[in-house]
């Protein structure tokens, strides 16, 4: 804001000065309010734009299929119905898929937290031969894209006769280099004397992890849990390859059974999609704070 009142004003009376000041203040307040409103407005537009696919999906899922097939704008269902959801549940064993996915994602999340925290504990508090080499090896796995090994993995598990089972969905994902790295980053902030004094007090390693490390690294565990669960829930290529029967299918693959483009099933398919998005979104919204606190407290910095 430019200087409103300049040198010449010194000569005018007190009252006029007060008036000028009041007016200028009003203008400034107005401008600030407009700026704030504009910022909120732009944010609102941006959020609407980014959430459009999701909002649209919810809208279609609530739309009777008859309403969908028009060339006119139909953003909001005129007669919302839950029928699509019911039909989707009937047409494919969606409940089973959802149970499968929860089971698989839950096991993977728990398994990763256990295996990663154990390994990170060893790498940060214990001394052993080849420690640095092994840690480098773990870090190197981050460079190997999962997709580059998928063929051999497929051949391996089919050799094990593991195809179409829970274990084939779970076991390959029971650890992650990123998780080990994240936990180690957290453990590094604790002094080694924390471990040493616990040992002197007669605390075993497992007990140290259980009663000292885990309570101290809740935010890292939270972040890890949210991130892993969402990724496991959203897994696509691997379950596509290794599951064949309805019994073992996860939601992302199972939902593909609804994928066709005739009018009847579009709204049903989207209803199914909405149903399987809800769990991952809920986990994300509930765990967002944890995720941010855990992932970005010094772990990611250049």
């Amino acid at each position: 804001m430019e200087t409103v009142i300049s040198r010449a004003v010194k000569d005018i009376s007190r009252e006029e000065l007060e008036n000028l000041k009041r007016e200028a203040l009003k203008k400034a307040v107005f401008r600030r309010r407009v700026a704030r409103l504009a910022l909120t407005g732009i944010n609102l537009l941006m959020a609407l734009f980014l959430l459009l696919p999701l909002l649209y999906a919810v809208s279609i899922a609530l739309m009777p299929s008859g309403e969908l097939f028009t060339t006119s704008m139909n953003l909001i269902p005129a007669t919302p119905t839950l029928d699509n959801f019911r039909q989707a549940m009937v047409k494919i064993p969606l409940t089973r898929f959802i149970i499968n996915s929860f089971l698989v994602a839950g096991c993977i999340t728990a398994g990763q937290i256990v295996s990663c925290s154990l390994a990170a504990f060893s790498f940060s508090f214990l001394e052993f031969k080849g420690k640095n080499l092994l840690f480098m090896l773990v870090m190197a796995t981050m460079m190997i894209p999962g997709e580059a090994t998928i063929i051999s993995n497929y051949l391996t598990v089919s050799g094990f006769r593991w195809l179409d089972s829970y274990k084939v969905l779970i076991i390959p994902y029971l650890t992650s280099a990123m998780g080990i790295f994240l936990f180690r980053q957290f453990y590094k902030s604790f002094p080694i004397s924390l471990y040493e004094s616990a040992r002197i007090d007669g605390c075993s390693d497992l007990r140290f992890i259980y009663s000292i490390l885990i309570p101290l690294t809740k935010s890292a565990i939270g972040a890890m849990a949210v991130y892993t669960f969402i990724n496991a829930w959203n897994m696509y290529l691997w379950p596509l390859l290794v599951t064949g029967s309805d019994k073992m299918r996860t939601v992302q693959i199972g939902i593909g059974m609804l994928d066709s483009v005739d009018s009847q099933s579009i709204s049903m398919m989207i209803a199914g999609v909405v149903m399987i998005i809800i769990p991952s979104i809920s986990v994300f919204i509930l765990g967002q704070k944890q995720l941010i606190r855990g992932m970005f407290s010094g772990a990611v910095k250049g």
């Binding site: 052993f128 993995n153 969402i230």
Partner: protein, 288 residues
Amino acid sequence: MNYKLVTRKLSPYGYIAPAMAIFAIFLFFPFFKTIYLSLFKTNKMGQAKLFVGAGNYSELLSSASFFNSLFVTVVFVLIVVSVSMLLGLITAVLCNQSFPGIRIFSTAYALPMAIASSSAAMIFKIMLHPAIGIVNKILGLHINWISDPRYALICVALLTAWLNSGINFLYFSAGLSNIDEVIYERASVDGANSFQKFFRLTLPGLSPILFYTLVVNIIQAFQSFGQVKVLTMGGPGESTNLIVYSIYRDAFFNYRFGSAAAQSVILFVIIMVLTLCMFRLEKKGVHY
């Protein structure tokens, strides 16, 4: 006593054993097996039958389809990375000042990271539907987005960019909060306007995280699969035949495991070279 000493010596290995076993069986072993397979012709069961040396590679390098797949992937990665990073940056900057409802907006901006590529692709399929899709309705166009080779790749890329914008928002938000507020105050007194502050302070201040995000984004974009499988099946023609989809098709439709393995190796080499190059560049350039 002796027993105790042995357990004490071995226990560190015990703690890393579960993780290491998984890595060994499902990462290191298949990694080398992939390299091994890429040197063979296989049967339908994926067993190595005939040693061909670099045969699979030379076949690939003389195949127009493979080069098309590489080209398509590169274009795809360029679009995805630039758009998703731009979206992440814009949203992070928008959410950097406090205003009422900021928590809701930041959740909204990060939300795409929670959505599966396959689910998103199904939603986009309807949005891009030539007759009833909302995109044509809003833009007033009649384009068959997915079946037109001119648009199919852009559609898949924009969908992927949308999915990745969520995590980029989180990265950039973290980066912005790492910039010391007080340097903006000094810049104000020094006479810098908002643009100067953004380009001279905010962007350089973000550069370390910008770089990290770039690497992660590129690697992630190279591995996109679900959206292609659901939205376009690599088509029309081969216009969206991204490299991972091409690997999948070669292995599980054409049963040419050797060729697919060779493509996997090439994918790995590309990603490794890119990562190393970028870290080399970073050492020279952006960090402080």
